[in-house]
């Protein structure tokens, strides 16, 4: 209401300002009329020039006067919408024909909505930062500019150290054989054969596991040119499902400061698949559900569950 009142106080000034604008416009058009008409109706050339200049000057002065008047009035009018929270758009509320142009209410709705969105996005970003899925250390606070310099130290481990960690894990589990190769530079690729149950291709970056693919024991894991095939998935639904779960496990086991522990925990978890076809589901007690055996292994207890039976 205060806005409306303050506008009301200035209405007088508004009316005067509008008439001042009208005056200014007519005086300006008089100037152009005078220029258009040019010099005429005088006998001598000098008389014509004099009369024209005098007339032109008069006109210009009246323009000047009107302009000054308008400036004075505009100071009186002030800026009525300044203290409105929506600034100039708040003036839309003055539109009397609400039914035909409901712009103002729509604007308010959009404003509220975008406010809420911003609030929720802020909350979500806070939560997501707590549960970060970035698996290497020192990445959170590093600005984009400095990132190339501040490489996490865990990413530049010497290949010898990686070899040691892997061979130690290999010795830890007798039913699991790990074959390490480096076909593309320093990044290691592991071919893990688990009993006579399955084969897993593990793509590493230093000691971080980047990608795993699980295939059947009797499936081909090499491409035609003899390299490990890290792209194609298994032909069997059960191993496609296990691949999905293994990817989940990669994100679950994370300890940026001790990457060797992560690899060891992952391999321990993977080893529980030795009984993929022999262990019934711990919840429903059955072997099959929709044609699949219990493909999920609990991260802590390593118990077997169907994908839909786990909590």
């Amino acid at each position: 209401m205060a806005d409306v009142l303050s506008v009301g106080v200035n209405l007088e000034a508004f009316a005067q300002a509008i008439s001042a604008i009208q005056a200014l416009r007519s005086s300006v058009s008089r100037v152009f009329d005078c220029l258009k008409d040019g010099m005429r109706n005088k006998e001598t050339l000098e008389g014509r020039e004099k009369a024209f200049i005098a007339h032109f000057q008069d006109n210009l002065q009246s323009v000047n006067r009107d302009l000054n008047e308008l400036e004075r009035l505009s100071n009186l009018v002030g800026k009525p919408s300044e203290n409105h929270p929506l600034h100039n758009s708040g003036l839309l509320s003055l539109d009397p024909v609400q039914d035909k142009t409901p712009l103002y209410s729509q604007l308010l709705q959009a404003y509220k909505w975008s406010n809420k969105l911003q609030y929720h996005a802020g909350l979500a970003s806070g939560l997501l930062n707590q549960q970060s899925l970035k698996r290497s250390a020192n990445q959170m606070g590093v600005s984009a500019k400095r990132r190339p310099k501040a490489q996490p130290t865990t990413l530049v481990l010497p290949p010898q150290y990686v070899d040691d960690v892997i061979s130690r894990i290999d010795r830890m589990f007798p039913e699991m054989s790990i074959h390490l190769s480096r076909p593309n530079g320093t990044s290691a690729m592991l071919l893990v054969t688990l009993g006579k149950v399955l084969k897993v291709i593990v793509v590493m970056r230093s000691l971080f596991i980047d990608r795993t693919i699980v295939k059947g024991y009797n499936e081909n894991v090499y491409t035609e040119d003899g390299k490990l095939d890290i792209w194609s998935k298994s032909n069997y639904q059960v191993f496609q499902k296990v691949t999905d779960h293994a990817t989940t496990a990669l994100l679950h086991y994370q300890l940026p400061q001790m990457p060797d522990v992560v690899v060891r925990s992952f391999m321990t978890w993977l080893r529980s698949y030795i009984k993929l076809f022999q262990a019934p589901c711990q919840r429903c007690g059955k072997f099959l559900q929709d044609g699949l055996p219990p493909t999920w292994r609990d991260f802590r207890t390593l118990e077997a569950f169907h994908d839909t039976c786990r909590q």
């Binding site: 149950v197 059947g216 009797n218 069997y236 639904q237 022999q278 072997f287 044609g291 699949l292």
Partner: protein, 212 residues
């Protein structure tokens, strides 16, 4: 190639072989299995020729030469309880040349034909066993592709078999017990088919009412 179990499904009482097969396939389709073409397994019996038998009067061994549409380029030659030879299909021509040693038993050809179904990682083949012109029985083959060790997935296979065979679920095939930890191979399947065919042949000798 995964672990496979071949078994015989008895003909339902008061039904023909064809009707029982239809009943079975309808059950499979209701389970969600998808039809994937047809299959055929055939078997021919050969006697050891009398001229090659030793003077001690030992009985001639029977040899079975089999084909499986799942392995279209191979031919399987088996002795009962004996070795199984996997050869190229040219082996059939060789058998003709070996007429002096092995003679084909007359009207011994037995085969099973039917539809192939896929359900998840299971491959199910329901076939009608025919000998000459008449249907003699029903064969049910279930293969579980992802697993290669028979003893590992037998309980799982059993659960699947129970889901559509009900009370006619078979026991573990004899080949499963033979080699505990060995990788299952195509020859093991052929041995099971050979045993099934022999069983059905014997049934035929004692005429059973209600088969046809």
């Amino acid at each position: 190639m995964g672990v496979t179990c071949v078994s015989q499904m008895p003909v339902a009482e008061g039904k023909s072989v064809q009707q029982t097969v239809e009943l079975l396939t309808r059950k499979l389709e209701m389970l969600g299995a998808e039809k994937q073409g047809t299959f055929c397994v055939d078997c021919e019996t050969y006697h050891t020729a009398a001229s090659t038998l030793g003077s001690q009067g030992q009985a001639g061994k029977l040899m079975y030469v089999m084909h499986n549409s799942e392995y279209p380029l191979s031919c399987f030659a088996l002795f009962e309880n004996g070795p199984c030879l996997i050869a190229d299909t040219n082996f059939d021509v060789l058998m003709v040349k070996l007429k002096g040693f092995f003679q084909s038993a007359k009207a011994s050809k037995i085969e099973t034909r039917g539809t192939r179904y896929q359900y998840c990682d299971f491959l199910v083949k329901v076939g009608t066993v025919t000998m000459g012109p008449s249907a003699r029985g029903i064969s049910v083959e279930v293969e579980y592709g992802p697993c290669v060790i028979a003893s590992d997935c037998w309980s799982l296979l059993l659960e699947f078999l129970q889901s559509f065979l009900g009370s006619h679920t078979p026991g573990a095939p004899a080949v499963f017990g033979n080699r505990h930890d060995a990788v299952y191979g195509p020859a093991d399947t052929m041995v099971q088919y050979m045993e099934l065919f022999n069983k059905i042949r014997k049934q035929q000798q004692v005429p059973v009412a209600g088969i046809r």
